[in-house]
Amino acid sequence: MGWFLLQRAVQALVVLFVVSTLTFLMVSLAPGGPEIMMTMETTPEQQEALRRQLGLDRPLLVRFVKWTASALRADFGRSFSHRRRVNELIAERLPNTLLLGGTALALSILIGIPAGIISATRRYSVVDHAVTLLSFIGVAIPAFWFAILLILLFTVRLGWLPASGLATPGAPFSLADRLAHLLLPSLVLATAIMPNLVRFMRSALIEEIGQDYVRTARAKGLPGRRVLSRHAIRNALIPVVTVLGVLVPRLVGGAVITETIFGWPGMGQLAVAATIGRDFPVVMGLTVVVAIVVIVSNLAVDLVYGWLDPRITYG
């Protein structure tokens, strides 16, 4: 097992290096230059002054080496627009994204997995058809449209839920307030993830139920429920875990659209603003963080496989 983990660690470093080099090149060489000049009333003098201040007039290689050297010390420098340490910014935004993503994930799992199970066990029934239809609709709905629709319904029409932010500005802390602000964005995000879980759970479980060992267990006299929960579902979870492993980084990388529309101060919003605003250090820092999340979640998925399926061993 130790050998396995060491291999993965080395692979991780290689991936991180390739990803950061490519990102650095792309951001530096993108048309429009590495500095931002977002106003018509700008002059070449200002551009030059800005380049000098931000150290962007130094050669590409020098800048890259500098960045890599500090990145190895986990220091991603200082944001150009926010003027704070990138680590601080990410540390501030990450919990918000995790909260949003985590809630969406929890909702998806709590509703999606049972829905997939029911769908599989009552195949071709009305419930199954309904679940399938809803899944397709969920996948087809664009997030930005659904988000605005929810806002129009719940904020404008009904006045039940707020439309943006983490909490009501200036109000003292209240759990109800926080949850109210969390509900709509996590619903939108969940709509993007849930259908995948439902479909994968359904098809994986259908396949398991058709296996010989399930027939044997039933023939042996085990109650249908126990056959399902103790045996079939556990095996059917393997493909589902794979899907989760792919979806989780997507959540962290930024539910960009959802965060933008709901004014949710998370990593996605930070990423968009940093990209448009040519906020170099933030873009690089975020890229590395997301790359790490992808690597870790892939590793976690592999380890969970081992737990779910005793035939799989590492090292």
């Binding site: 806002i151 904020t155 439309a163 943006s164 500005p169 709901f262 004014g263």
Partner: protein, 524 residues
């Protein structure tokens, strides 16, 4: 399984109860108003990253020497009055007494000197400093009197020191070598003289300012102003309708439909000192014949475009100086009706004949050019229409729509045959920076126009000492600008804003200036 199911249902109901307790999410804490901004702001009006989202906040936090008054003229802000020396090179500003910074310290002329020294320092690259290029030196005469010494007369200085020119406190920057990295001020706790002071900033979420009861212009009545970070314009409109936002700036006229007819929302529109244009590069031989430029002005149907994607919220422009500048505006200049035949005739006079495919040719050269424009606002449909209109008279346009930052780079490097853009200018007829030949390479003279008479007029306009003299000069300039077409004028857009009817007292001036009178706004 059944027990687990029951537990899940009970838990969900409990959570739901927490959610459904009606959360008003109303405008900020009681007695406050809310306004949307599209990104995180910077609280220093001179910072190189001080863009559109920051200016509403800095106009409230800080004061300049002058500001645009409710009755459409320049009035004193931190300066009570000013006078100009006979040679026009020394402006003396007599500052208000007893003004205090938000931290209680006294405002003095030293603060003005400190601010303008930063502005004129070329190494620092303060934002907007191009407007102050004629300021040579700042001199403190006494704690309440400061002088700006110019290298050349500039009658428009009174306007220029009133637009996004907030004075920042010297004492807050004591010991700071680089003002742009002084984050304690720029990104966290700005200290100004304005009607509101910093209360709370949650990055990525909102900025809340609270009233400054000691404000020299009169204590504000509204308790707090919250600027919510909302990058999405549809979300902004939805929140306005829900009452979570009190006032919004409507950039895209198509959105007016969303609020029209609502009894609780007031939509108002007014003209602004802003014109949209196509700037042909006068250094390219293609555009050097005046008849060609005039032909273009006849080739497009501006009223149709205005009703098409501006919902009528604009007026076809006859020149760069808008009717907002009441006494300076000259309505008696050459205008151009939509007339394709006239356009073709002018081009023929200039020697262009239609080739076999309809595209004009002259001496073997096709009339073909690239049009650079930013992919923001409504420039995409505008550029496409311009392309169509010009194709109809035999001119081939290659469209080059670029992301805003890339567009700016192209603009700075003068890498275009023609470009589409807009100028929002302070309310003064001084068009020097935008059309004088000295501003062609590195200034705002994007068409790279160089006309001797125009140059002379623009210089004279800056030197003139009386309103009557300036009127005469700029009237002639507008005649020339309409005949010779440094820019090809599209329209003067109206500003559209919408607010909740609970809000009153907003002066009838453009919104950025109205924010400088925030102490007079009221909420019912």
């Amino acid at each position: 399984m059944r027990v687990r199911l029951a537990m899940i249902v009970i838990l969900s109901l409990a959570l739901a109860a927490g959610f459904l307790a009606p959360v008003a999410g109303g405008p900020a804490p009681t007695g406050g108003i809310a306004f949307p901004i599209v990104g995180d702001p910077t609280f220093n009006p001179w910072h190189p990253r001080h863009f559109a989202e920051s200016l509403f906040i800095t106009r409230v936090l800080f004061n300049g020497l002058t500001k645009w008054g409710k009755d459409s003229r320049w009035v004193g802000d931190l300066a009570e009055r000013w006078d100009i020396s006979a040679d026009g090179l020394t402006w003396t500003f007599y500052l208000r007494k007893g003004v205090k910074w938000h931290d209680g310290r006294d405002f003095t002329a030293e603060d003005v000197k400190f601010t303008y020294d930063i502005v004129i320092d070329p190494r620092l690259g303060a934002t907007g400093r191009a407007a102050f290029s004629s300021i040579k030196e700042v001199r403190v005469v006494d704690p309440n009197t400061v002088q700006l010494l110019l290298s050349a007369p500039q009658a428009s200085l009174v306007a220029v020191v009133g637009v996004n020119a907030g004075i920042i406190p010297k004492h807050a920057f004591a010991g700071v070598t680089d003002p742009w990295t002084h984050d304690a001020f720029n990104k966290r706790n700005p200290i100004g003289t304005g009607a509101y002071k910093m209360k709370e900033y949650v990055p990525g979420s909102h900025v809340t300012l609270e009233r400054n009861p000691a404000y020299f212009g009169g204590a504000p009545s509204i308790d707090t102003v919250t600027f919510k970070v909302l990058p999405d314009v549809n979300a902004q409109m939805a929140q306005l309708l829900a009452g979570d936002l009190t006032i919004v700036f409507i950039d895209n006229p198509a959105l007016v439909r969303a609020v029209r007819g609502r009894t609780d929302i007031e939509v108002s529109t007014l003209p602004q000192n802003n014109f949209y244009y196509m700037a042909p590069n006068h250094r390219k031989p293609l555009f050097q014949d005046r008849r060609v430029r005039q032909a273009f002005m006849h080739a497009w149907n501006r009223p149709a475009m205005i009703s098409g994607f501006l919902e009528g919220f604009a007026t076809p422009a006859s020149g760069p100086i808008t009717p907002v500048l009441k006494n300076y505006f000259n309505p008696n200049v050459k205008t151009y009706e939509y007339d394709r035949d006239r356009a073709r005739q002018l081009l023929a006079e200039a020697g262009w004949r239609p080739g076999p495919d309809g595209v004009l040719t002259k001496g073997g050269e096709r009339f073909r050019f690239t049009l650079l424009y930013p992919t923001v606002q409504y420039f995409e449909p505008l550029a496409a229409l311009v392309q169509q209109y010009l194709r109809a008279i035999g001119v081939e346009v290659v469209l080059e729509g670029r992301e805003f930052n890339v567009f700016i780079q192209g603009m700075l490097a003068r890498r275009y045959d023609a470009l589409l853009g807009w100028w929002i200018m302070p309310e003064d007829p001084d068009f020097f920076n935008y059309a004088h030949s000295s501003a062609a390479e590195r200034g705002f003279n994007l068409p790279m126009y160089g006309n001797r008479e125009a140059d002379a007029l623009l210089e004279a306009g800056r030197k003139a000492t009386t309103v009557a003299e300036r009127e005469r000069i700029y009237n002639r300039f507008q005649e020339l600008a309409a005949e010779d077409l440094p820019y090809l004028y599209l329209w003067w857009p109206n500003e559209i804003r919408a607010w909740n009817r609970r809000l009153t007292g907003v002066p009838g001036i453009h919104l950025r200036a109205a924010f400088q009178w925030l102490n007079e706004w009221r909420v019912r």
